[in-house]
Every structure is written in C-alpha cells, then in structure tokens.
Amino acid sequence: MSDLSGLYQELILDHSRRRVGDGELADPHASHHELNPTCGDEITLAIRLDESGSTIERIGWTGDGCSISMASASALTELATGAEVEQVRRLVDAFRTMMRSKGAGEADEELLGDAVAFHGVSKYVMRVKCAMLAWVALEACVASATARDA
C-alpha cells in the first residue's frame, strides 16, 4: 500500500472524515454549484464576507464525493476562512498550479499550508478534478460576490 501514501496522506484522510465547513451556510453572499461529470459528484459551496466586503468571514458547503474532494473542501474551508479576498485569489491560483504539476516541483507551503498535502494528487490525472472541485466553486463565489459589490 506504500504506493498510495503519496495520494492518501494522513492529513487528507483526516480531513475527509472531519469535513470542516460541511453544512449549509445561512445568508450567503454568494453560492456556487459545481459538478464533476466523470463521477457525477457535486458540491455547493457558499461564502459570507465581512462588513468591509474584503474578507471571507465564513464558508459552508454541502456535497457528496470521494475522500479527495471532501478533504479538499475541508482543507479549503480551514485555509480560506478569515482570509482577504485578494489572498484567496492567490490561494486558488497556487492550488491550481500545484494540481497541474503532475507531481513535479515543490508546492508553496508558506502560502498553501496544509493544502500542500494535495501535491501528491496531481500525479493522478483522473483525480485532479476531485481536488479542484471545491476550489473552482470558491473561485466562482468570490468572483460573483465581488462583482455584485462593484
């Protein structure tokens, strides 16, 4: 099973069980539904901004999916809650770059924190979409919440 340890790191398996943020968010500023057509799994992720509109106050999501997708949503919630919108955009970009790396290079641990555990997933091309699911939904939420603001 040693082959799998790069994919299913302890941190991922742990997040997939804890599911931080799992549950519907009341009064969201933006919400987005994302589907993975390969498997039919889906997630609906919502955010609330603080009064200034520049910081993500809360994240909540509901969905069903594999351990990678659930762990990714959970890790994302931990990482992005309380972060500035600009910072979140950088996070999403960095996560996407890491997921496209096919396992090459070093992930930016300073920026991504625990989420670097997903670096190993990038070697499994068929699972990259799993890890991206929540992040794509978050990106769409941020885009629509800030568009509404403007």
Binding site: M1, D3, L4, L7, Y8, L13, R17, T38, C39, G40, D41, D64, G65, C66, S67, I68, Y124, R127, C130
Partner: protein
C-alpha cells in the same frame, strides 16, 4: 486458431491463451496487471491485431466504390466479415449493419422511427411511426445508450416513455414486464444482460409478450453477444445492438441486427454516399439493407478485425466461454460475499449472473475503492456505469465493478477479493 475448449475453459486457462494478449502481460503499479474491466472494453489478441494490419498492408482500398481489382479484394474481405458476424449471431448477411458502436446502432433504430413518424419513410415505414398515446417501454436498469435515445424519440413524437421497475437488487421479472407492456406499447427496449447487475433478462418471454401486443422488440446485446452463444432469430427479437470492442475486436465499429423486412423499411437516419440508387438535387432513393444504413466510408479494417475476433471466439467455442465465465462469476460472488459489510448489487449469491459484480463499500466512495485496488495492480471500473437511474433506485451514486472475460483467471478474482477486504480498514470506515 482452435483450442480445445475443455482444456482451455473450466476455471484454469492455459498460458497459451493469455500469451495471445500482449496487453495482459503488463505490470500495473509494480504488480502483475489484473484487468477486471472487460465489461467496459476488452483487450485484443494478436490474431485480431495481425488480421487488421495484414488487411491494411495488403488489401486496403475503397469498398463498394468502383470496380478495380483492389476494390474487389477489399469489398470481398469486408463482406466476408459481415457473413462471419451474421453466422455468429444466427442472422442473415442482410440483417447485419455496421455502425460506429452499439450506442449508434440503438440510435439508428430510434432516429429511424422518428423519421418514420415524420412521414419520411412512406407507407412502408408505418410500422415504425409513433403518435401521441403510443408507448415506448424500457426498464429502470438500462444503460444510458438504451434510455436517452428513447426519451428523445418520445419527445419528438409525443409518445410516452414507460419503464419496467426493478426490485431492491436491481433485477426484474416477467411479471413486472407484463404489467407495463400493453396494447399501446409500440416498442420494448431492454438489455439482454445488465452491465451493472449481471442479471440476464428472460428475452424470449418478453419478446413473446411484446409481439402479442404488436410491439417491436429492441435488444441491447452488448453484454451478451461477447459472452454466450446467441441466436437472434431464435430469441425472437426484432432489432439488437452490440459493440466489437467488448468482444476482442476494435473500437470504431458496432453492429445493428434487424429482421430483414424491418431493416428494408426503416428509414435511414444517417444519409450519404453508398446508400442510394438514384439521387437528384431534390431527392434520394435508398438501397435495401444493409447498405441503406451504411453512409460514407465504413469502418472497413475494423470490420475485418471483428470478423477475426469472431473466428477467435468461435475457436474457443461460445459454450465453453460461457461455462468458464459462469465459474468465474460464482467465484467472484463468493469472494465478495465473504467480506463483512459490503453490499453486492444484483442477483443474490447462488442465482445466475454474468461474470461481473458491482459492489458498494459503505463509507468509502467508489473512486477511492478503485484507487486502492489500482495501487495493487487491479483495474476495475468505478462510477455509475452509464446507469444513473438504476443507481438512484438502489440508493447509490456509484459502485465498483469487477468484470471477467475469456482471459480472466481465478487467481485474478482471488486477488481482487483479498484487496477488497482491506478497503474499509485503509480508509478507516470501520469493520
């Protein structure tokens, strides 16, 4: 290529058969590959690869177009393949139409019926014309390929789509069919063998009921033709569809079987070169079957390869293939049934089923199950297997499916069972 079926089949395949499949000699993630996804697509023996290549290096030319020596050779090879496939399924040569795949074959029937309903086939095609009030019957267990085309036909014609319900194990019986098929039924379309449950439908009985009500019978034979002796004439179906790539043959070619008089009257949904007698700027007159349906350059080398695949299977003997797979099916079910907490979809242990099993591992997503097996060199299929409504009915979103074929060994099935038993522990999903 003939092998003694008693030596070959019976649970222990001789190395000589495996050796004919170069793909299977590979490693996967550092383990010998156990390819348990033949229900999705099968691997090709060297004989099939060689036959296609020999055709391409020596006999390839336009078919049915022109009159040169080369065209004579290519056309001969192409039509000989048709005769070989026809004989394999109890059909006449004119009852076998090449298509892109089985999906395309089913679409050709449904689209042809839509054309007939729009008056495009003249009075000859009346038998295919649907009107509001008419009913199309499928089952709740169908592959999307045998569901969506009928949904679209219903939407175009105003006919109503009805379905035979399945039980909690995903199977259905003749009484379920009889309660849905009635005098308004014009088509009954169902899978011979389900690609999710492995359940084999009582084809001849359903056909009998359907015909009594004047309905046409369309059989999705994707999971039966590769695995057991088939005689469409004897089964009494009107149309049937199957794909070459699930029976040791190439992708890019499927087969539509149809009774000759029906095929001659069904409007060709796809039109173009080689399907016609006379064309003016205003209109076209079509050839009889099969050529009326074979628009444009056909999958010629693929037909030749499929012919060789059929000869290969005939060499093994389809009775023997079926017996071999029945044994593997039993072993597969035994392996799964002895793992606590795993849910087996389909007929219960002991009941007949095709050599495939879909399972749900509570607390572990099917894609994670598949990934875990993959790391041990075991390739299975995960997902809804193009049968979302069936999975929804079973309260599941996805399952993990292992499926066997002529080259599958008992050892591979046992490796699968041993690995599956470890899944819940690995993911901490409790015993």
């Amino acid at each position: 290529m003939t092998l003694d079926p008693t030596a070959t089949l019976g649970g222990r395949l001789p190395a000589t058969l495996r050796d004919q499949f170069p793909y299977l000699a590979q490693e996967l993630n550092g383990h010998p590959l156990a390819y348990l996804d033949s229900a999705a697509t099968a691997q090709r023996p060297t004989a099939v690869l060689d036959a296609e290549r020999a055709y391409l290096e020596r006999s390839n030319a336009a078919v049915h177009r022109g009159a040169s020596t080369l065209v004579g050779t290519s056309t001969g090879a192409f039509e000989e393949a048709r005769a070989t496939v026809a004989a394999f399924v109890g059909a006449g040569d004119r009852e076998i139409v090449w298509t892109e795949n089985a999906t395309d074959a089913i679409n050709l029937v449904a689209l042809g019926m839509a054309d007939a309903s729009a008056g495009l086939g003249g009075s000859e095609a009346d038998v295919f014309a649907l009107r509001p009030g008419d009913e199309i019957v499928v089952t709740e267990a169908e592959h999307h390929a045998n569901l969506i085309p009928w949904q679209r036909l219903a939407a175009k014609t105003g006919a109503t789509l009805r379905w035979i319900p399945v039980g909690d194990d995903g199977t259905w019986g003749i009484d379920d069919a009889a309660s849905v098929i009635g005098d308004r039924t014009r088509v009954v379309a169902f899978a011979h063998v389900s690609n999710v449950t492995g359940f084999a439908a009582p084809v001849a009985d359903v056909a009998e009921i359907a015909h009594r009500h004047g309905a046409l019978v369309v059989l999705d034979a994707c999971q039966s033709v590769p695995h057991r002796p088939i005689d469409f004439g004897a089964l009494g179906v009107d149309f049937a569809a199957f794909s070459a790539h699930k029976m040791l043959g190439p992708t890019g070619i499927g087969v539509l079987y149809g009774r000759e008089q029906l095929l001659d009257a069904l409007p060709p949904a796809r039109t173009g070169g080689s399907t016609i007698t006379t064309v003016t700027m205003e209109r076209a007159e079509f050839l009889p079957s099969p050529h009326r349906f074979e628009a444009g350059t056909q999958p010629v080398s693929q037909a030749v390869a499929l012919g060789e695949a059929v000869r290969f299977l005939d060499g093994l003997g389809m009775g023997g293939v079926h017996a071999h797979e029945a044994e593997l099916a039993e072993l597969l079910v035994d392996e799964v049934a002895r793992i606590p907490g795993i849910r087996l979809v389909g007929p219960p242990p002991g009941a007949p089923r095709a050599a495939l099993a879909s399972v749900d591992v509570p607390g572990v997503h099917a894609h994670d199950v598949g990934q875990f097996l993959d790391a041990q060199g075991i390739a299975v299929r995960v997902g809804h297997h193009c049968a979302q409504p069936l999975h929804r009915r079973l309260g599941l979103r996805a399952t993990t499916r292992a499926s066997a074929y002529v080259y599958t060994t008992a050892d591979e099935i046992r490796r699968y069972g041993a690995a599956l038993a470890e899944v819940r522990g690995f993911f901490g999903a409790g015993a």
